[in-house]
Symmetry: C2
């Protein structure tokens, strides 16, 4: 529903661009050779980590950040998507 | 099944300790305030990233490593678990 405001602002669909970082280090017990498939490695490690700390996994470092940044730093694809989102909000 | 070998080696359940690292950086379109819950942030970012690159996400850096390390570098909990795994293999 549109706001019935006299001083209408430009569409303010409240989305932003965030620069995000996830940095995980941990030790893991695993079968020898079980982590040798490079294509699977990211998924395997994320699965292992998200299962949580147990007797197979020992976290060493967990860094998680999300910082709002200027959309001018984003790729053209992301900027186009922001515009689409804001436009679709205009029409809602 | 046990190997019928004369020069029987000490139990060799082939597990090792791996030091693992996942370092992800990416830009993400998200609702303002949608990433403000620190307790949820890691899960949110991992979910977003594993959904893959699309018009909402722009990867900047992906580093994934898993390196076999000496089990002496692992915590006592992990070392105990290694021993349990090897012992259970002995009995199999």
């Amino acid at each position: 529903m549109k706001q019935d405001s006299l001083d209408r602002q430009p569409a303010a669909f409240e989305v932003s661009v965030y620069e995000c970082e996830v940095h995980l280090k941990f030790r893991l017990i695993e079968e020898k050779g079980g982590l040798s498939d490079r294509d699977q490695l990211l998924e395997q490690l994320i699965d292992a980590f998200t299962c949580g700390t147990d007797e197979y996994l020992e976290p060493l470092q967990v860094l998680v950040k999300a910082e709002e940044v200027s959309e001018m730093s984003a790729s053209p694809e992301l900027r186009r998507q922001l515009i689409r989102l804001r436009n679709s909000n205009d029409l809602a």
